[in-house]
Symmetry: C2
Amino acid sequence: MGAPLRIAIAGLGTVGVGTVQLLQEHAQTIAMRCGRPVEVTAVSARDRCKNRGCDVSGAVWYDDPVAMAREAEADVIVELIGGSDGVARDMVAAALKAGRDVVTANKALLAIHGTELARAAEASNVHLTYEAAVAGGIPIVKALREGLGGNHIRRVYGILNGTCNYILTTMEDTGRDFDDVLEEAQELGYAEADPSFDVDGIDTGHKLALLTSMAFGCPVDFEAVSMEGIRHVTAMDIQHADELGYRIKLLGVAEETEHGILQRVHPCMVPKNGPIASVEGVFNAVVVEGDFVGRSKLEGRGAGAGPTASAVVADIMDLAAKRGAPTFGVPVDGLVERPTATIDTHVGAYYVRLMVLDRPGVFAEIAAALRDAQVSMESILQRGHDPGAVVTVVMTLHSTVEAATTRALERIGGIDAVVEPPCMIRIEDL
Amino acid sequence: MGAPLRIAIAGLGTVGVGTVQLLQEHAQTIAMRCGRPVEVTAVSARDRCKNRGCDVSGAVWYDDPVAMAREAEADVIVELIGGSDGVARDMVAAALKAGRDVVTANKALLAIHGTELARAAEASNVHLTYEAAVAGGIPIVKALREGLGGNHIRRVYGILNGTCNYILTTMEDTGRDFDDVLEEAQELGYAEADPSFDVDGIDTGHKLALLTSMAFGCPVDFEAVSMEGIRHVTAMDIQHADELGYRIKLLGVAEETEHGILQRVHPCMVPKNGPIASVEGVFNAVVVEGDFVGRSKLEGRGAGAGPTASAVVADIMDLAAKRGAPTFGVPVDGLVERPTATIDTHVGAYYVRLMVLDRPGVFAEIAAALRDAQVSMESILQRGHDPGAVVTVVMTLHSTVEAATTRALERIGGIDAVVEPPCMIRIEDL
């Protein structure tokens, strides 16, 4: 049995406590699997006196996580504070500079400063690992960097945010609308008081940016991610999706296109019997399409103390066993800038819902707008007939380049009888 | 860039050729990810003159794979010959003894001689890896040994044989019977001329034995696997399953029970909306239930040149990058013998189909047999009414211990009016 691997943990929220509990409960198995024990030698959190349900009395307490990262008697610094800047960034930078391996669950930090931090890790010849940052307990970082590492990846996509998936699943199950379900999710602790990171797609965007870098070997580029959240999805859209044979999911998709790498986050109608539609509630799933392996899907809990701790500990065990990989799969100097495709180059089918004054001639105006934008309609259906009142019109569009769809919808939105901005949801065979 | 990793490959069938092609096509990416190039320096196969569609002219040819394993200028020996004994076993043993890392896709070999070979690897301080041996391209070996390695695993189960899944899916889609679909699968190359390993559950048993060892940290024990194949499943059973809300899949299940570790392979009715039912055709899926991570599912192509090569190359890349793990997750001396539970201790629900002469009193005899064995019936349904002729009776039984079900079915099989042995299929909420 080798010398203990010494761990310093910053942040003792649910994930930090779960990590300590896992390391303690399974200490023997972990030591056996790694060839050496793992010991928590230092901790840092906001409130020293709080009772957290885990025993860290054997660890040295630091009020300042940055000081801990620099000075603690530890081989590995675990960052579970969160946030793309401030103390999390400072402590990770300090740890790497001090020559310590870093384990983090912080997607925002890596999505924004990942390349710079990976470079710092390489300069110190240490590792920066983040299995817990993407899709919770699902070992997708390891799969992309190692298990599927021989493949040329063409596309990676998935459900990366459990909060949105819970909200959409509940809307579907209950027929209730977004605001109502969000409020309940907040009460249940499934959504934050400020839900924006989740429901506006930003969290999914952070995770997607990391997957993109690993899948395509390019520097992390969060700025290039097109993001659209789920606030505009109504119970009515979910009902229409069901009738059309689809479910609505918030997807992150990264793919090689003829225009470059396209990273996009948006709600999407996916076929009910496809690999994504069956992913329910707080579960996450990631699909990887590789040239040799074909389509692989990994599914599991995307958040919560247990799954996230499982991923943090997997990283710690790799470090204990001296298994390492470059932060994004290849050394930073080997990451290749790729052309960036924008969402207006996306080609796909569309669902469009319009709220329209029921009067003669409106369909003709809509049809003319589509014709002029060279958009081909697959179907159009007015739901109900109530002259002079507002009715719902649902269209599906054949595969079209998004720029044309946008042009057509702008013009349609300007038609007098169209009383709300059109609601557009992409349809994909994923 | 480090010195090249030198590879010797034995067996140039579809997987061997796929491996060479992957290593050549993605040589640059692989070198970048591993920090060193990978070179095929030696090969061995049956026929030197065969045109295989891949260029191995730069490699030294060996007629004898055992000699190659011992003598070739190679760091890693890749065994793609197959078979639990004979030349595959000899060459792997020779390679380990000579201090070379071994990569193999051979589940039969490891299921039967795994512990002994793992010990030989440890004695020489080398690695024995086998990602391709279980579930093709799905990185499940890595997930169990590393990515989910911090968890206490309670159960691992899945669809591990693409041939059986293809046959069952096709029977379901077309309504055709087993023999007919098997013949077609053989013509299409999806099933072997001797299909026994696949359709009798042996191949699934081999793979399950490996998963069991990794999941529960016990020595591989293929002898303890209870195996039942799919030959007795009829189109009628698939139809009945559909009516009851189930699909029939051949599952391998390993679980901790109060009687010990139970390893079982058998066809199973699983709910249509559960995680297993949606796995179609040649796809495989493995579900891991861990105490911290919860339920995780990995799904992908379970066989074929590309997926298997993807897994073989993942192992090679790990060795190139000096990432290693003990063969079964912990060193052989750390594997703990666990009590073995037998299938008669299994507790679950059952579907039973009987072919019965339609005459008064038969139901009473059946009911008495169930009562005497303390088996509680959930439903019984005679399909059709044709006095004096043979009709189908379908029963479902409430959760029962298997020994009692077996006793009841033996007695029912002995009833005069029951003209065929009862067909029993387990029902599970997987």
